[in-house]
């Protein structure tokens, strides 16, 4: 009784969204030929999203928001600097909802930047030297330097994807909303794909790419970049020739088609026929899409597949490109998930930690942007880079930085996003977002806008969304 209920359910939504979601659903369930493409809220600038997420909290001051004053006042307490007002800011309270009160406090002693930085490209955006390959694309990036979130613990990973604090429990994620609103673009692959190890269960787990009340069909589907085992049940458990298996799927299709004569009205049956066609294709298309062996030597080298350090993430970035190339709507790539807080969580030894991790991801991400641009894919693909929060301007344990939800950075690129922009700002020490403050869902609203969706119209009956969940479009970065 899925489809009829669904239809009744959608009818309750009222004008506007029902048409859109219904069209998307029918589209996905095999009705696309009857109803055409989904009706959008805006003219879309982009169709696809690659969402790169650094798990654990990448430093913003040693990344996309360098702060020379950290070097100038190194070793002083914040109270001893001219920026002591930071400590009186109301944001310290209003901006914070703690999982365990008192776990992460303001780190008072200013810690110098652990890497040099410079101006990159014509736009002269300042980026640290740990990100040379990404920075080479500076003129294509819109860096948002004034993000804030409210959780100062790693539940912020979930919050970055849902817009709600981890204590509020799971909610639909950005990828699932995009999928819900837009449906699929391709006929042989899932539409919302997850690469890399997802969030650990401390910090959101599968809910980090989940759809919660939107229903499991909008969950992100995890693929391994391993052609032998890309997703559960992708290959037959028992040895079987391709011809035998093809015959089985064919017969299943024919038998179901016969039932379709007896039950001509059954949308579930039609959806099932379609799902078997898709599943059959997925058995070859999914291993194929994650198989990067056929890429040219130059491409493989560009992504760093020849280097042990960059290989793993390089393969994921390359797979991400292959996925969007084949019409996958939303690709969520995790880096640094380690079964716990995340690899980027540099409470100590930040220099060593970030030198290594940046080296793992910088070249592959740079290559991804180059590759997408070369293939013309960047025109309709948005790449988003982010992390759950930044890191404290003050030192922790002498050579690390603590969690920092008051001000941090993300960047977007492609899909109609303006390039060469550094939007918003933190204060001189990189502590509070002070100029054009943006909650994390402003990134969601902006991405959705580019895809043609109005985040405020993404709501379903009985599921009241809070103001903060919708976000606001960051108009300054939209071309």
């Amino acid at each position: 009784m899925w489809q009829p209920n669904r239809r009744a359910f959608l009818a309750d939504i009222g004008m506007g969204f029902s048409g859109l979601a219904l069209a998307a659903l029918l589209h996905k369930d095999g009705y696309s030929k009857d109803t055409g493409t989904p009706q959008l809220h805006f003219t879309p600038k982009a169709k696809k999203v690659i969402w790169l997420f650094m798990v654990g909290g990448a430093s913003h001051v040693e990344g996309f928001d360098p702060k020379p004053m950290l070097n100038k006042y190194e070793g002083k307490t914040i109270a001893e600097t001219p920026y002591q007002d930071i400590l009186k800011s109301p944001h310290l309270k209003t901006n914070l909802r703690e999982l365990l009160p008192g776990q992460h406090k303001v780190q008072p002693k200013v810690y110098r930047m652990q890497v040099d930085h410079k101006k990159w490209g014509k736009s002269g955006i300042e980026i640290s030297n740990w990100w040379p390959h990404v920075a080479a694309h500076a003129d294509k990036l819109a860096v948002v330097r004034s993000l804030w979130t409210t959780d100062n613990d790693h539940g912020a990973q979930l919050q970055f994807h849902t817009g709600r604090h981890v204590l509020d429990g799971p909610q639909p994620t950005i990828g699932s909303w995009a999928h819900y609103g837009l449906g699929t673009l391709n006929e042989n692959l899932p539409s919302f794909v997850v690469l890399g190890t997802p969030l650990a269960d401390c910090c959101g787990g599968v809910h980090g790419h989940g759809s919660h009340y939107l229903g499991p069909e909008h969950n992100g589907i995890r693929l391994n970049v391993d052609p032998k085992n890309p997703l559960p049940f992708a290959t037959s458990a028992q040895a079987k020739s391709a011809a035998e298996q093809a015959a089985e799927f064919e017969l299943a299709g024919k038998l179901n088609a016969l039932s379709n004569v007896t039950y001509p009205d059954d949308p579930n049956l039609r959806a099932r026929i379609k799902s078997y066609e898709l599943a059959y294709k997925m058995q070859s298309s999914v291993p194929d899409v994650v198989n990067t062996a056929g890429e040219s030597e130059a491409t493989r080298k560009m992504y760093g597949l020849d280097n042990a350090r960059t290989k793993a993430f390089g393969e994921q970035c390359l797979a991400a490109r292959r996925l969007v190339e084949r019409g996958v709507r939303f690709v969520q790539v995790f880096h640094g998930s380690n079964g716990g807080a995340g690899a980027w969580d540099a409470h100590g030894g930040l220099k060593k930690n970030h030198t290594e991790l940046c080296a793992q991801v910088d070249q592959p991400i740079g290559a991804l942007l180059t590759d997408l641009a070369q293939r013309g894919l960047l025109d309709d693909t948005i790449v988003v880079w982010g992390s759950e929060f930044g890191r404290t301007p003050g030192a922790q344990d002498g050579d690390g930085r603590d969690h920092h939800p008051y001000g941090f950075s993300a960047w977007m690129c492609g899909g109609g996003i303006k390039g060469g922009i550094a939007h918003g700002a933190t204060d001189e020490l990189g502590f509070h977002a002070v100029d054009h403050r943006h909650y994390v869902t402003d990134i969601h609203a902006t991405v959705l806008k580019q895809l043609g969706l109005d985040s405020r119209r993404l709501e379903v009956p009985g599921r009241k969304r809070l103001e903060i969940e919708f976000g606001e479009v960051i108009k300054e970065v939209v071309a």
Partner: protein, 890 residues
């Protein structure tokens, strides 16, 4: 600069504390509901409020526009109705002033409403064109007014069963209610389904398993008129029914095994499977639903000494959350209200409810019922290690716990001036709850003196003593003796010095342990004797305390000696942590020795838990399950209906409030609720009532005429086909291949073993991040909330059924089984037909035969001899398991 969060909250505040704005969404909704299909355009402010005009300053309590004459009249009439002691909701108020003409424009309020003109604006009135057919509309509206009104917050009154003409097949009163609505729509129902379709439907619905061949034959050959009813009775009596429906209730009651990060428990508790077993047992015994609810909320207060009953409080234990007490209690409030009352009380955590008569302080008063509770794990007989087994349960730890209203729901901002004592919202029935504290029997709180605990302590002490004795005689005596032998005068000390010392220390430690074991046995025997006497003599109490102190000393001494020995054996590098431990042990030893010197006061040690319970939860549970509570039965009946028919009567299954959906058949729902309560809340009787109706037994094949007019089957002109739930898919695969292991109950099984072991799916671990992949492909419920399952159709399901080992092994086993049944002479066509019957519950059609025979031929040619026939047939069975008809319940 004010943060945006701050800004949002400020906006919310304005909204919350301004009565006029607050009323708007609820009143708009109520007016829309009142006019129903007669509403010509969306309700806007102009119906009741003045249009925006310069100089119209809002009064302090009206942030938006002031009322027009109609709105003002509605306000006055409320006071009059209240004074008269009558209902004063918007519906009643509108009823009272329909015939008036508030704006004195010569057109009654009724007619202005029916033509969508403002009854409070004399300038806005219907044209003569609009008034042309008005008499007819008024008559229709009058008829509409007489319909059965849905009043979910009023006590259930059994509605009259519609009288049917003799031609209609009415097996149960349910049918009369359905037929009445269906006739009004002029829809022709399908006939009753064939016995073979009914058989499969009934088995899968009631037991979650398909019938076996024998069961099929037995039913189809039973020509007695009550064959169907007998089958229903048999299935409801089967333990398989209890397991199947337990899973449904586990969805609603949010069953979750413990979840956490690594080994750290963060949500729910270990051993909560006892609650799952309680659900299964209760369903099997057909315990009244009201009793079940009472036990889940207050089993510890109802039967404080009965572990079997206390298991039920797993419902509350499940909400335990390591990091935040507020989240824990918020979940408790939210889901108690959603599950049993169908009310979104949770909406009032931060502000008054926007639609329902639940104020913010009502939320905290509701929370106060749960404020005293805590979670603990009690020992169960036979297992002293509660990490291995135990009873996870709730108890009132702080019987006088206070609840304060949290400003905007913010736990950092309790309003100490607003103490919320346990009570239910004033707008509900019978709000005077008698909260009686419950005095607990000793065993309920003095858990360490429970008989089995004391007896097991004696047994354990005896074992310890034997071990201690053994250790001395066997090992140390010899070692010490042999080493002492080395120490003859003049022998080189060299490396042997520490050796000697640590052997000596080992020996002393073993002796200390022996003493400890002896004391431990004496103590446990003393305690047991103490319990068995009605009053302990002061001498015995003193003796017990003395023994206890000596035991503590002996144990501390043993620990110190053991550590000293370890220290000597350890390399320098690894010494520091042991030195630390030794320091602690020595301190403990010192304390124990000092305590030995202190006088004994002869008082027994206090029990571990309070000797009474607040009785708050029991009062709440009794209120919820009172027959005058309008919601409990309605909500439960709706859940059950949905699971039989695939669609609920009220589609917002956890919201029966003003923002919820109207039922498709309000009278039927009330009838079922009344029947349910009068039957003693018997679930089995309710199931039987439903599945023996004609409505349930209709065929599912559609007719073009009906599908065009009622595609969603809102009027039950057929039985809606449903997809098997995740657990049913897996269990059926195992059942069809005769592999299903029907062992019942016990600790949750590793979800990773779901494809290699064959217990029913409800027994596998089900928690956040701990769910079976196979089940997840078929929309297994999320443990955090699943009042209603989704039935998606996605390619992962196809892959799971085509490629998984569980499906493929099933195909092998089924093919083998059919071969055995049919004998070696089985023709392709008889094999095909048998496969269809087993897997889809019906014969293969001619067309299907043709396709399948051709497939067998071709597949045989593809396979490798000599087993190619068998291989091809196995392949065919796998295809049938992938047939839409397998996962579909027609």
């Amino acid at each position: 600069m004010l943060s945006r969060l701050g800004w949002c909250l400020a906006g919310l505040l304005a909204c919350v504390f301004s009565p006029a704005l607050h009323a708007t969404p609820a009143n708009k909704k109520a007016l829309e509901a009142y006019l129903g299909p007669f509403l010509k355009r969306p309700v806007d402010c102009k119906f009741c409020h003045l249009a925006d005009a310069a100089g119209n300053k809002a009064s302090p309590d009206e942030v938006d526009k002031p009322h027009n004459v109609f709105g003002a009249r509605l306000k006055i009439i409320r006071k009059e109705l209240n004074k008269a002691g009558k209902a004063s909701d918007l519906e009643a108020r509108l009823d009272a002033i329909l015939q008036e003409d508030s704006d004195a424009d010569g057109v009654s309020n009724l007619i202005e409403l029916l033509t969508s003109h403002s009854p409070g604006d004399a300038k806005d009135k219907p044209t003569s064109e609009e008034l042309k057919n008005i008499d007819k509309v008024v008559a229709e509206f009058a008829k509409y007014q007489k319909r059965y009104r849905w009043k979910p917050l009023e006590v259930v009154v059994r509605p009259t069963v519609p009288v049917m003409s003799p031609g209609e097949l009415v097996r149960q009163p349910i049918d009369a209610f359905i037929i009445a609505e269906r006739q009004a729509q002029n829809l022709t129902p399908r006939p009753e389904a064939s016995p073979e379709v009914l058989l499969r439907r009934l088995y899968l619905d009631l037991t979650g398993l398909p019938p076996t061949m024998e069961e099929r034959t037995a039913f189809l050959s039973d020509s007695s008129p009550d064959a169907y009813e007998k089958l229903v009775d048999r299935l409801l009596a089967s333990p398989r029914y209890a397991e199947r429906w337990a899973r449904h209730w586990m969805d609603i009651w949010r069953y979750s095994d413990w979840a956490g990060y690594g080994a750290e428990i963060r949500e729910s508790q270990p051993h909560i499977w006892h609650w799952r077993d309680w659900i299964v047992d209760s369903l099997h015994d057909d315990k009244g639903y009201d009793q079940m609810v009472r036990e889940m909320l207050a089993g510890d207060e109802i039967a404080p000494e009965d572990d079997k009953t206390i298991r039920a409080t797993g419902f509350l234990v499940r909400n335990w959350f390591k990091f935040n007490r507020n989240v824990w209690l918020d979940n408790t409030v939210e889901h108690t209200a959603k599950a049993f009352l169908g009310m979104t009380v949770n909406c009032a955590r931060c502000h008054d409810h926007m639609y329902d008569p639940i104020r913010q302080d009502d939320y905290y008063s509701f929370r106060a019922f749960f404020e005293p509770l805590q979670v603990r794990i009690d020992r169960l007989p036979g297992q002293s290690d509660t990490t291995k087994n135990g009873l996870a349960r709730v108890y009132d730890a702080e019987t006088q716990a206070k609840t304060y209203l949290l400003i905007r729901g913010n736990e950092a901002m309790p309003d100490k001036d607003r103490l919320c004592s346990p009570s239910v919202p004033a707008s509900f029935h019978g709000t005077k709850l008698a909260i009686q504290p419950v005095t607990l029997p000793r065993d309920a709180f003095d858990v360490e003196r429970r008989l089995h605990v004391l007896q097991e302590a004696v047994t354990e002490a005896k074992g310890r003593l034997t071990r201690a004795q053994g250790a001395i005689t066997d090992k140390h005596v010899k070692q010490v003796a042999s080493v002492i032998g080395l120490l003859r005068p003049g022998a080189s000390l060299g490396m042997n010095v520490p050796c000697v010392t640590y052997y000596q220390l080992d020996h002393q430690a073993a002796q200390a342990e022996l003493l400890a074991a002896q004391l431990s046995l004496a103590l446990s025997e003393l305690k047991l004797r103490e319990r068995q006497q009605t009053t302990a003599s002061p001498n015995e109490t003193v003796l017990t305390e003395m023994t206890q102190r000596q035991l503590a000393q002996a144990e501390a001494r043993k620990t110190t000696l053991t550590l000293e020995a370890t220290l000597l054996r350890t390399t320098v590098k690894k010494k520091p942590p042991i030195v630390e431990q030794l320091k602690q042990a020595q301190a403990q030893l010192k304390t124990a020795e000092e305590r030995l010197q202190k006088p004994i006061d002869g008082k027994t040690t206090a029990a571990k838990y309070p000797d009474s319970s607040s009785g708050r939860r029991l009062a709440l549970a009794r209120w919820i399950t009172d027959v005058n509570n309008p919601l409990a039965a309605r909500v439960a009946v709706n859940h059950i209906w949905m699971r039989h028919f695939g669609q609920p009567l009220v589609s917002s299954v956890f919201d029966f409030g003003k923002n919820g959906q109207q039922p498709t058949h309000p009278a039927l729902l009330d009838y079922l609720a009344a029947e349910f309560m009068e039957s003693g809340w018997s679930l089995k009787k309710l199931h039987k009532l439903i599945v023996t109706s004609n409505t349930y037994r209709l065929d599912s094949t559609p007719t073009k005429e009906c599908i065009d007019r009622d595609p969603d089957n809102r009027f039950y002109w057929r039985h809606s086909p449903q997809r098997m739930q995740a657990e049913v898919v897996r269990d059926s695969l195992l059942q069809l291949s005769d592999k299903l292991d029907l062992t019942q109950g016990g600790p949750e099984l590793d979800q990773a073993a779901g494809l290699t072991t064959a217990r029913r799916s409800l027994y596998y671990r089900h928690a956040n991040e701990k769910q079976m992949t196979f089940l997840l492909s078929f929309d297994a419920p999320t443990p955090t909330e699943c009042y209603r399952r989704v039935n998606s159709v996605v390619p992962q399901q196809a892959l799971a059924l085509a490629n998984s080992s569980i499906a493929q092994e099933a195909s092998v086993a089924i093919a083998k089984k059919l071969h055995q049944q049919l004998g070696s002479q089985a023709t392709p066509s008889s094999f095909i037909d048998a496969g269809f019957i087993l897997i889809t519950g019906r014969h293969a059609t001619e067309d299907e035969q043709k396709l399948c025979q051709q497939f067998l031929q071709e597949q045989e040619a593809r396979g490798k001899s000599p087993s190619s026939t068998e291989r091809a047939r196995t392949s065919l069975i796998l295809v049938l398991l992938n047939h839409h008809e397998f996962v579909t319940v027609r």
